[in-house]
């Protein structure tokens, strides 16, 4: 039980943020991260094409293109939230961790607050906003303390 990593991929497959969410998370080098980001982006696109059942208008409940929403493995679950603009927020956690969806939505809110309203952030570029990383850290603290409730 516990969160592992967060990464954000922009609409063209570039990795714009990667961050470990707990000390239990394995160390991954920056080059590997870039590879993971673009690989996930491609798999996401292939999954959307390969899916035998199309959602209405090829849109999911968020109004974004369909594709991978969740991957479950023996030692990890991966959840992806794709927004309407094609940005993908991906979180990985140990199996049995709850509230992944809530956390992804909260991170989306933080992204639109701290990164998009920052005059020094350029769209589609790596996120280097101190405020955003601090907010994600404090969000994770609140989640661990059980202050963020399922909505």
């Amino acid at each position: 039980m516990g969160f592992l990593h967060l990464f954000i991929v922009n609409k063209s497959g570039g990795l714009i943020l990667h961050r470990s969410l707990s000390s239990a998370a394995p160390q991954i080098g920056t080059n590997e991260w870039l590879r993971i980001g673009s690989t996930f982006h491609s798999l996401h696109a292939i999954a959307a094409e390969a899916s035998p059942v199309k959602l209405p208008n090829n849109k999911n409940s968020n109004g974004a293109q369909d594709g991978i929403e969740q991957i479950e493995g023996g030692g990890v679950i991966l959840k992806c939230l794709q927004t309407r603009t094609g940005i993908k927020f991906v979180i990985t956690a140990e199996p049995g961790t709850s509230d992944l969806d809530t956390v992804l939505r909260e991170i989306y809110v933080l992204y639109s607050d701290c990164a998009l309203k920052d005059p020094f952030y350029e769209l589609e570029m790596p996120i280097r906003c101190e405020l955003f990383t601090n907010s994600v850290d404090s969000l994770m603290k609140r989640v661990v303390a059980g202050e963020v409730m399922m909505r």
């Binding site: 909260e106 809110v109 933080l110 607050d113 701290c114 309203k117 920052d118 005059p119 020094f120 280097r128 906003c129 101190e130 405020l131 955003f132 601090n134 907010s135 850290d137 404090s138 969000l139």
Partner: protein, 220 residues
């Protein structure tokens, strides 16, 4: 923003509405943050240095200050013209702050080292709510726009001053100690989900010599 009938700022009378001394029409913080972000980006693309960017933001606020002075001075109770240095500073940190940000500034202090310098301190400066200044821009203060507004108000009132904005790190337990911070969010940051701020905005007001000598003459 609502376009319906009397909510429109242009349709409302210039004077106080319903006897309230503060303006009760609010603009969404997001709307302000987006437009301010664009303003900063516009000036950043045209400025060669950090100090030029600050100066550009200040001059953008200057005109606002002149206009805010007219409106706020008319809307305050006595409608009197402030001629003393302390009273105009008070007017800025309470009336002007209230009409712009919905609350008073957190404190107004006189510099210990220089007699011509005063400091207006705000723990939750609205302009830098969502701003993280990158390291290559050094000590740029995103609140330079507000310092321009202050300069405009003071200049319009006949108190020529140079106003600069500075980010100052909060000291341990500084925020909890002073209970002067009124209104705003109850503790922490005004925006839910964002951790409390580590910096405060200090607006340094340096009056020009003739203003000080005039005030000294009034003292007698």
């Amino acid at each position: 923003m609502s376009r319906s009938s009397s909510n429109n700022i242009l349709d409302r009378p210039l004077g106080r509405v319903g006897g309230r001394s503060t303006d009760t029409t609010f603009v969404s913080l997001s709307a302000f943050a987006y437009i301010y972000s664009e303003l900063v980006q516009y000036h950043q693309s045209r400025a060669a240095s950090v100090s030029e960017l600050e100066r550009r933001l200040e001059s953008a606020g200057y005109g606002v200050g002149l206009k805010v002075l007219e409106m706020t001075a008319y809307r305050t109770k006595e409608m009197k013209r402030e001629i003393r240095l302390m009273s105009i500073l008070h007017f800025v940190s309470s009336s002007v702050w209230k009409s712009l940000f919905g609350r008073s500034a957190d404190s107004l202090e006189r510099s210990i080292d220089h007699a011509d310098e005063y400091m207006i301190i705000d723990y939750e400066p609205i302009a830098s709510t969502f701003v993280s200044v990158p390291t290559d821009l050094g000590q740029l203060s995103a609140d330079a726009y507000v310092s321009g507004i202050i300069a405009g108000v003071l200049d319009g009132a006949g108190f020529a001053a140079r106003v600069t904005a500075h980010n100052v790190k909060l000291e341990e337990g500084e925020r909890q100690g002073g209970g002067s911070g009124s209104g705003g969010g109850a503790g922490g940051n005004a925006v839910p989900g964002i951790p409390p701020r580590k910096n405060k905005a200090v607006f340094l007001v340096k009056f020009s010599p003739e203003v000080l000598s005039r005030d000294a003459a009034l003292e007698r």
